[in-house]
Every structure is written in C-alpha cells, then in structure tokens.
C-alpha cells in the first residue's frame, strides 16, 4: 500500500508540472517574481520532499544486503 501511494505521488507531481492554470498569467508574486516561475520553484521544493519520502519509505535496502554478502559467480 505504501509503495502504491508513493507511485501515485510521483505520477501526481509529474502531472502537476504541466501547470496550464498559470500559462498566460504574468502576475507578480511579492511584486517581482512572475507567478509561473514562483510555481515551478515551489514545485522543485515539492520534488525534494517527495524524494525524502521515497528514501525514507522505499529505500532498496536489499541491494545493500546483497553487496555485503557477495555471490560467488562473477560475470563472464
């Protein structure tokens, strides 16, 4: 369930990148930042938070364990 929610969050954020609702607006946030730019900056912060969720709840720790106990067969 946790993984499904994370996949949904990734897809949702990807869709939210296409912010058609601010497409034609040149409104200035704080009097100087165009709203389209401000939105995309906030999007970057959201992406970082999403990465934190992935690292916290979906870290592939089995890969670390596999490396700690190397298999005998090496590549040809």
């Amino acid at each position: 369930m946790k993984k499904i929610l994370l996949v949904v969050a990734v897809v949702a954020l990807y869709i939210l990148h296409q912010d058609i609702w601010f497409w034609r607006s040149s409104h200035l946030v704080f009097g100087f930042i165009p709203i389209g730019l401000f939105y995309q900056a906030c999007f970057s912060v959201a992406a970082s938070l999403l990465m934190w969720l992935l690292v916290t709840y979906a870290w592939p720790s089995h890969l670390e364990r596999e490396v700690e106990i190397p298999e005998e067969d090496a590549p040809r």
Partner: protein
Amino acid sequence: MIPAIVVFLYLAVVLYIGIFAFRRASGREKAEDYFLASRSLGPFVFLFSLFGTNMTAFAILGSSGHAFNNGIVTFGLMASSSGLVIPLTIFLIGTRMWALGKKYGFMTPVQMFRDRWECTHIGTFIFAVQAVLLIPYIIIGIMGGGTTLYAISGGVVPFWFGGAIVAMVVMSYVFFGGMRGTAWVNTFQTTLFLLFGAIALIVIGAGMGGFSSAAEALKSSPLAYLLSRERISPYYFFSYTFIPLSAIAFPHILIFCLTAEKMKHFKKTVIFYPLCILAIWLPCVFLGVMANRVTEVPQIRAKQEARRVLATQGRNMAPEQRDELREKAAGDDVIMLLLQQYAPLWLAGLLGAGIMAAVMASDSQILALSTMFTEDVFAFYGGKARFGEAVQVMTGRIFIVLITLFAYAIALRAPESIFELAIQYGFSGFAALSPLLVAALFWKGSTKWGALAVTVWVAIAVAFVAILQAVVPAPAPGPSTILWAPGGFEVLSRTPGGTAVLGFMPVVPMVLISTLLMIVVSSMTKKPDATTVARYFGGRDR
C-alpha cells in the same frame, strides 16, 4: 582585465587540485583507482561532484541566455522537470548500478549490458553510439570556456584562446588526477557556483535598484510575454519532461554512481538534488529575463534589436541572414554583461570564476569517454590481458589528450548556440537510450536484440534530425515550415527552434519508439541463460 586575472587564479587552483589528487594516487596505477577513485567517495563529495558533473555551461550561460529570449518558461522546461526526473532515476537506476558494480566489478554501463544480455559486439556498438553522442557535451564545455573568458576580459582574450586554455586545464587535471581529481575539482566548483547564483542575484538586484520596478516595467512593455508562457506550446513544454531521462543514461553520470563508497550516500544526493538545481537555475533564469530591462548596456540593446528584426522581417530574409541575426540575438553572455555593468571589478572576477566552474563540467565526460574506451574496447579486446593494467591507464590518459584536441577543433567551427547544440543531439539521444537501462535492470525478458534495435533506432533518429535541420533552414519566429502533412494532418515540421513531430519535440517519439522496440524485439528473440538472469533478479519478484 582584473576579473580575467581572478579567473586565471581560479584555473590555477583547479589545476593544483588535480595534481594533488595525482600525488595522492601515485604508485597505485590500478584502473579502478584511476577511473573510479577506488569506489571510495564520501557523501559530501559524492553529492557535489555528481551534481556538478551534470551542470554544464548551459546551466548558467545557456539558461540565462535562453531566458533572455524566451522568458520564464526556461525554468519549467529544464530545471524543475530535471529536479523531479533526475533524482528519481538516480534513486531507481543509480542505486542498482552501484550495487552491481560493487558485486561484479563493472566500471561502465556497457560492461553491465554485455554481462546482462550475454553479448559482445552489440556492446561495442552501444559504446560507439554513446561516444558519438557524448562528444557534443564536451564541445559545449570548451565553447562555454571561450565565450566566458572573452566576455570576462572585455574581448582581450579571444574565443579561440579562451577555449584553448579551458581545454588545457581540464585535460591536465583529468589526465593527472583521474576520477579522484575530477571529483574533488567538481566538489570545489559546485560549491562556487552554488554561491554564484545568490551573490549575482544580490549584486545585480542592488545595481538595478531592486527588481520590483524592473519587473513591473517589463510587465507593462511589449516584452510582457517573457513573464508568462503564452507563446509556448503546451506540447513543447510537456516534451521537455522527457529530456532529463538523458541524465542517468549519460555514461559519465552512471559511472559516477559507481564511485560512492556506500549506498546510503545516495540518500542525500537524491533529496538535495532538486534544491541544488533550484539554487542555481532560479537566479540565472530570473536574471536572464530581467536583463531585458537593462537597456543602458549597448550589447543588450543590440541583441534585442536583432530579435525584433528577426521577428518582424525574418520571413523575407535568406536563411543565412536569419542565422546571422539569431547569433546576434543569442544571450549566452548576458549574465556576464550584467556583472560587468553592476558588480565591482574584483567581485565580477569571483563571479566569473563561478561561471567558469559550471563551464568546466566537461571534465567528467572526457574521463567517462576514456574509461569507456579503455574498459569497453581496449581491455575487452585483450589489451589489458596482453599489456597489463599500467598500460591500460596510460592508454586512457592518451585518449584524454586526443579527445580534448578533437573537441577543441570542432568547437572552433561549430556555429550553433550552446543550448541548442546540447539539446538537439546529446540530450535527446541519451534520453532515447534510457529504456536500455530500465530493461536491463527491471525486465527479465529483455534481450540483446532488443538492445540492438533500440541503439540502431537512436542512431538513425539522431542522424535524421541532425540532417533534416542542416538541410531545411529554420524559419523565422512564428509559424513552422510544414514538411510532411498526409491528408492535411501535420506530422513533421521544422520550427524556429528545431523539429516537431505531431507538435512534440523529437525526444518524445524517440523515447516511445525505443521502449516499443525493446518490448517487441525482446519478446520475439531468445532470452539470456537462466543463470545469468538469476544473478540480476535472484529470487525476488519483479
């Protein structure tokens, strides 16, 4: 000239770091030490060097130049989409490659492909396509170096000489320091250009008397469209989200993923990557847009005039005249012009060094090409077994010299702007190669024939786009030139900025067809041996 002296001092420091790394490694002429720093990078160096590796000249020069002419859309096109897609691919693919590298000793992606799909010459073909696609990236670094030194010195250091100096410095520390030197230099450079954005924003903002009045004036001028995306097609904007797929498929990024000492070092990289992109791109894009209000700088006025003439009279001009105007309107040096206008001389020098830091990110690509050549070709075809590891490392060093000289020669002749050159060839091609990695690591049923089909397709598609754009001149700003519209349905067109397929950038059909080819061809061909597949997927469910 003072800023140029500061930049030269910076170049000397960078060179010293590379040579210091060489001394640290002396006596250890092992390939894994030279090419991968013995897989021993700590969390801080790993984050900063991996990020720095991916920030080339276009992160600062190209982004502000693109924003100068196209507006705020630049940030959404490349920065924020990269902030989502790149760390995600590092999280999913980079960690797996790291584990396989530790387990089986892989030093390049092709080594993994050869083992995973039990192939030999198909691996060599993948190497050749990767190498051809990577070279434009190296050229960008040299072009950026030439442009920056020319601008910083006020035209005293010509483009050819500036490019030569940057090429020489990068070549030297990569030659001596290998991966350790490159990673240390990248860490130093990333620290510099993270500081660059904030300082440039404060200094230029103060010089302009605050951004509010400039932004308001821009909003009420005919250039107000730069503050929104009203002139950008949503299809084009969407297409760009496919471009960051290229990052993980770039051999230098994937090879960098093999240098981490522990897998947990990826955690900070994945989390902080979007914030690092934000810290560099937001000031550069914003300043690029605001530069349109700095009309007291004659060079900026000349660029705006060229842009205006191109938009109003471009349709009636010869293609050569349009190209000439495009070159005049290009804003790659706009950040430097702002610094010259508003920053004190010594600070302009320090900030110029910050720009040089980004410009010189081609080091990792040069080292990656050398690693690939020595491992995927020299060692694979018996060179290592016959001549030993010390000769292998020396071969890698000679290759570094040759590839740098070759890239420099091309940089002197290439007329395209930094940004376009990177996007149209390198990025789209590598993005379309990313299904190779996904298939190798996540799909048991993938085969070497599927991989071959993908690689052949990418080579043909990139060559087709390059030839098309060379043969059909770019139209003036406005409607595209329709090249193929069966039954009135527009399929292929030449746009002012490149090529469009069904309204999308070529990268979209390239990635989708690559994926389709991998699935269809793999489904019809013989799978690798079960024991090989088991070594990659074990008993876990996939």
